[in-house]
Symmetry: C2
């Protein structure tokens, strides 16, 4: 077994578990910060460790283009390359191919696309996306899927779902035949600070699609489970649909996923959303929101959102969030953070990102704590119980 998923506690539909990967344990429900090209923008790895990050997400599309899979593989996979000894998950590249390429061409075989960096032409198939992810060497990798666009009518959503199912089978077949080629498996680890896991390999998760049709989502879940994966993701959401619809689809899809395996909701969400989806039984989530918003001066606090660029903070001696114990809130005033942002100082992006990640990780820590206390009925209110000013 390369992945274990141990039961700790539950509260209603929510569950607190422990996901054991070749590179360490991950307490779930977990929020995974996005480190697109092997870096969470602006934050050194030791700070991520201090924040309590247990698993990072890397983007296969970006890493495939730069620095290239072969470079990462030779340097020990992502763990060795970026000197990150804890768990990593990579996406399949499918989402970026769809979101960053207006000129992509999809065939049964795969997707032809152009690099957003230099316009060069590339091709991803289920097989080549698996090959790339094996070279990158994340602990958890994702089947190559088509992220169905929103809106999509029923015929389009079904055709896209069927393609994703065929690609899931091909992904699994290639992965099973090549998973021992991971850079940190029997070949021995070539990087630093990462233990050798000679008997462990990566784990491949399947992805449920089906647009916003509950019956298609159910069929997609059942047929993906039939193919068989150690974990399942819900894809194709948070792509422009109304939030009520997202929640409805998530809730109905969860019903059809195995209770004893991890459930990963891709690309979600706001602080309120990650709490809500954890309460519905989601175990893993990722989103660029905390890091991207930070770089634009939008900060999440226990008393709501703060747009630190506003002049109202220019004389504000208080901490960004009086209820936050992160190294930013412990040391700096809102006035200083506002000044750094207004002056376009690098440190603004660094400190803002550290705080927003801290806020997200603390939020999930409180969610896990509430679940362990079994506080189902007061679940959401426990998380957001702090007095408003």
């Amino acid at each position: 077994m390369s992945l274990q998923f141990q039961i700790e506690a539950s509260a209603g539909a929510a569950r607190a578990r422990r996901l054991i990967t070749p590179h360490g344990e991950v307490e779930t429900p977990v929020f995974m910060p996005v480190g697109t090209v092997a870096s969470v923008k602006g934050v050194p790895q030791d700070v991520l460790e201090e924040l309590g990050v247990q698993i990072l997400l890397g983007n296969t599309y970006h890493l495939y283009l730069r620095p290239g899979v072969e470079t990462v593989r030779r340097l020990g996979g992502l763990h060795g390359f970026m000197a990150w000894p804890r768990a990593i998950l990579t996406d399949s590249g499918g989402f970026q191919v769809f979101s960053l390429n207006e000129l992509r061409k999809v065939t049964e075989e795969g997707v032809t696309f152009r690099s957003h960096l230099d316009g060069s032409e590339h091709f991803f198939s289920p097989e080549s996306a698996m090959e790339a992810q094996i070279g990158l060497g994340a602990d958890i990798v994702m089947a190559f899927d088509e992220c169905t666009e929103y809106p999509a009518d029923r015929d389009r959503a079904r055709a896209s779902m069927e393609l994703t199912l065929r690609w899931a089978e091909r992904s699994k077949k290639y992965f099973e035949e090549h998973k021992n080629e991971v850079p940190w498996s029997s070949n021995g680890h070539v990087g630093t600070a990462v233990p050798t896991w000679s008997e462990k390999t990566q784990s491949l998760f399947g992805i449920v699609q089906g647009g916003n049709y509950r019956d298609l989502r159910r069929e997609s879940a059942e047929r993906t489970i039939e193919i068989g994966f150690p974990g399942y993701a819900i894809g194709g959401l948070s792509v422009g649909e109304p939030r009520d619809l997202t929640r409805e689809i998530v809730e109905s899809t969860i019903e059809h996923l195995p209770a004893d395996q991890p459930r990963y909701l891709m690309g979600v969400g706001t602080p309120e959303e990650i709490v809500e989806y954890a309460s519905l039984g989601i175990d893993m989530m990722d989103c660029v929101l905390p890091t991207r918003a930070a770089r634009h001066g939008l900060l999440f606090t226990s008393e709501g959102k703060v747009s630190i660029k506003q002049a109202r903070y220019s004389q504000d001696q208080g901490p960004l969030d009086a209820n936050c114990g992160c190294r930013v809130c412990r040391r700096y005033s809102r006035a200083y953070l506002r000044h750094l942002y207004a002056s376009n100082e690098l440190l603004a992006q660094v400190l803002n990102t550290i705080h927003n990640l801290s806020f997200y990780l603390d939020t999930m820590r409180r969610v896990r704590h509430s679940i362990r206390l079994g506080e189902e009925s007061r679940f959401l209110s426990n998380i957001w119980s702090r007095p408003k000013p």
Copy 2:
């Protein structure tokens, strides 16, 4: 006494001393990192502390424009505003007015200049520059001077020197009358993490000018000393003149400065230069080189300069500098640093800056160690004794 300068050891002309400021002790010879607008670009204050930074430099011109002196003053001066409890030195604004303003207008009264941010018109006089520096509240502040351009003929250099001498008198007069208005003096400290020094005030240093004329430098030194300051800076160098000439002027000027007071060489230099000037008896230096070069991918190592953008490092698993113990060299490979730079990742600028600062601070630590060992004859070779590859 707001400043003490205690003798520790000497080796030839070089001296190891201890500068005691209202915000802590500074071991000299010292290199002062530049934190232009109250931030060393990209580096959080706790990392600066960990690197062993004992004194930072702030730029009065930039801080006066943004966030403004009154804002900084209200928030406890620079120490409170930027949450930096250790020593700070501010320049007078003179150098930036001259280097960033082609349309400046100099009169006996002062300098009219335009903001590089929005083109608005401003005026600095010795009095207003002192007022600004008292509001910013650095431990050491600088007299308002005219930084003589290079080249300057003898008449121009003399006229400029005479102006600087008249401005030095006016600077001292205003400073003496207003130094108790410093934000952390008897009014009590309004920021955090900074001790109250109710009996201490700032210290004002004089600046020696005189272009590249040894006799003018001597006259400038003697007449500045006559006005009387607790420390003296050598200004107007590193402004385009040949390095041999810089060294010659520094060496000849030092002869005319009091042995028992700090000597500050402004705007210098490369790692080799800071070692050399320390060996000549300079106690304090500052330069944007380590931080600015870092942001452009130019890194200083014990084996020479490394331009990390070069493709030759793309597969290089070794640390940036095998002889460096900084958190960057301990953790990351050259290949990873090259990838971050090539991908224009924020983290490149953060990590590169941390390493270059670490290299500069380590260099000065080794200089001080050599002086304490009294190793005059092998002074320079001790610092650069590591085997070349």
